[in-house]
Subunit: 372 residues, 2 copies
């Protein structure tokens, strides 16, 4: 018996999570475990009506769970960043979910927008650092910044450049600080090396150390140090701009990649597209010793809300990752294979050229699972 | 008669620049102007033997030119960042080349890695800000940083998080600061709106304002302000992660995009790939009132150095942009159409399935131009 917290969120969130729960319940029935679902109401509606995002008390409660099943958040009525930072990133940071694991795998029968690429060409995993980098949320207008008196170098630069007087024109400048730590880099890089050892012993590090030399210089230093413990893993450094090219041209070059937070965000969306689109891309936010969270990597798609047409496969796949995390590896594999089965049988939503509704897909896969 | 400075640089740089010069000279012959080329030696060799990158005196001299023709820099023997920051970014910053203009256009006859996309689907321009953002080069280990005593908020965060003591463990943290100014954002956004007015009156802004709320919040504020002066241009905000998807899935949605420096770097490499690869992607670093620089956006490809096999088309196309910048619009258009002609006739290098050498392609296009 597992207790799993469930945060459906906004837009299509509740519909896809409901399909996902149905599948995980069926997996439990077949493999002999029960899931008790505890639902938490977070998202735009609550924020708009009460001003609340997620409370400290709720976060404390959530720490009683090993896994959270997360739908999606985001709503056009709310300023960009408020819900993302106040809920999604808040959970990632609060539980120190330092690994964001994103498989990029073209399932059989799925159409990729790339010419001449087959399932065997697109099968890699991006290990995205999930708690540092430019996601630390430190920044400001220079005027009101915590570091107002300190960013002397910035102010000098800009007073030469534009004749700005920092006392009167300080609202004119904004800065954003990214931070990387050796410890924070090491733990995620180590995780990626361990994963590479289990797969094809190839690991690519993605950064932009030729321009953002300070943070990504540290990253490379740590990567080189950690690599000494894995002499059998072959490694390479790639610049993020180049990686976007190779994902499109030669995805078969990659097996495991590890990357700081922001570039991880960008390349995994691209990865999602080459594996057939956001409807098919799951992610796990993992703290191996704490509370982890599993989610589709797509957003809340407000315009499809309530229509029962959203593709639930990313969410169901995220559910498979959740089961894996709980140690139910057989059940996890069975869920993934029922997803593949649903694709083969065209038991999918219309974005994948099927004619099922969101809930139908959940039911189809649940039944398929129970057939065994 | 024009004086153009020419910086061939490292690796394949000299070969592609030499092909490009041949073409621009031919364009001059046909359209009645002369180019006097002044060559500057910058790059890895000089740096390794003398420690010099580019001197203040050279930069002053270069300010006598309206245009610089740049090859490529980069060499495996030099730490990533040294040549890039010390030469390429130094020029961009010194001359305040705040517009990095990157056409993404699938020429007829060129193969794209995207399934089912045709030349009419891929034809847009990315206007990349080129002097701000995370390219300002401000960062450090906390230990030795200019802002050592000031990054209190960072230190507090990390002392809670990892129990780091900033006095003893300061080498453990690195930070990087990005800066955006209203003036710096406004001028490039204005340029992009002007360009959109001349094209299809559609402009997309690319940022990540839902996470890097400080810098990109300012960017959006400025974008909204500037947009008021262009009521006939329809606009939208896109997140950078999503843009990488749409480039691959629906490039036909885009016409003009404007974006801060770092995301511009990333999405234009992806753009280069969908237009057929780096061998075909030119860029202009433009200061409308000063010295501008034109270059292929690819690197120095050290392993192809001296082999006369590198594809010179990106460099020749950059030459066409250079002519445009000098006001030789007819000549610029003729160069681009001779490039297209060479592709049609398969008078290209082997990466494009032709069998010409780098220098042959230059000669072929020069002759084609002269035929008129
Ligand atoms: C919604 C947003 C904050 C988030 C991110 O940037 O991490 C999303 O894009 C993702 O990749 O999970
Ligand atoms: C070489 C590097 C510094 C440069 C950049 O990041 O701007 C390059 O990638 C480019 O896009 O021109």
């Amino acid at each position: 018996m597992y207790k799993v917290a469930c945060l459906p969120g906004d837009g299509i969130g509740p519909e896809i999570i409901s399909a996902g729960r149905k599948v995980l319940d069926a997996a439990g029935e077949r493999f002999g475990f029960d899931i008790e679902w505890d639902e938490y109401d977070v998202g735009a509606e609550r924020y708009i009506s009460t001003g609340q995002l997620i409370s400290e008390d709720e976060l404390k409660e959530l720490s009683n769970y090993r896994a959270i099943y997360f739908g999606a958040i985001g709503d056009d009525r709310v300023t960009p960043g408020v819900l993302e930072k106040g809920i999604l990133l808040a959970v990632r940071f609060y539980f120190d979910q330092y690994i964001n694991l994103r498989p990029v795998k073209l399932l059989k029968g799925v159409e990729t927008p790339l010419a001449n690429k087959k399932p065997e060409d697109i099968d890699f995993v991006v290990v995205r650092e999930n708690t540092e980098d430019f996601y630390v949320g430190i920044g400001s207008r220079v005027k009101s910044g915590v570091t107002k008196n300190e960013l002397k170098v910035v102010r000098d630069l800009y007073s030469v450049k534009f004749g700005l007087d920092v006392e009167t024109d300080a609202d004119e400048l904004a800065y954003q600080i990214g931070v990387l730590s050796k410890k924070g880099s090491e733990r995620v890089i180590r995780y990626a090396f361990d994963l590479a050892e289990k797969r094809s012993k190839k690991l690519a590090s993605v950064d932009k150390a030729n321009v953002l030399t300070d943070v990504y210089g540290l990253w490379r230093e740590v990567f080189n140090d950690v690599s000494k413990n894995y002499p059998d893993v072959s490694t390479e450094f790639n610049f993020v701009d180049a990686v976007t090219m190779w994902f499109v041209k030669n995805p078969e070059w990659y097996d495991v990649l590890v990357t700081p937070n922001m570039f991880g965000d960008i390349i995994t969306d691209l990865g999602a597209m080459i594996q057939g689109g956001l409807g098919l891309a799951p992610g796990g936010n993992i703290n191996p010793d704490g509370t982890s969270m599993f989610e589709p990597i797509h957003g809340s798609a407000p315009k499809y809300k309530g229509k029962n047409i959203a593709n639930p496969l990313a969410t169901i796949w995220a559910g498979s990752m959740l089961l894996d995390h709980l140690g139910e590896n057989e059940a996890a594999a069975a869920v993934l294979s029922s997803i593949e089965h649903s694709i083969e049988e065209r038991a999918v939503t219309r974005d994948m050229k099927g004619n099922l509704k969101t809930s139908d897909v959940g039911e189809w896969i649940a039944e398929d699972l129970l057939k065994g």
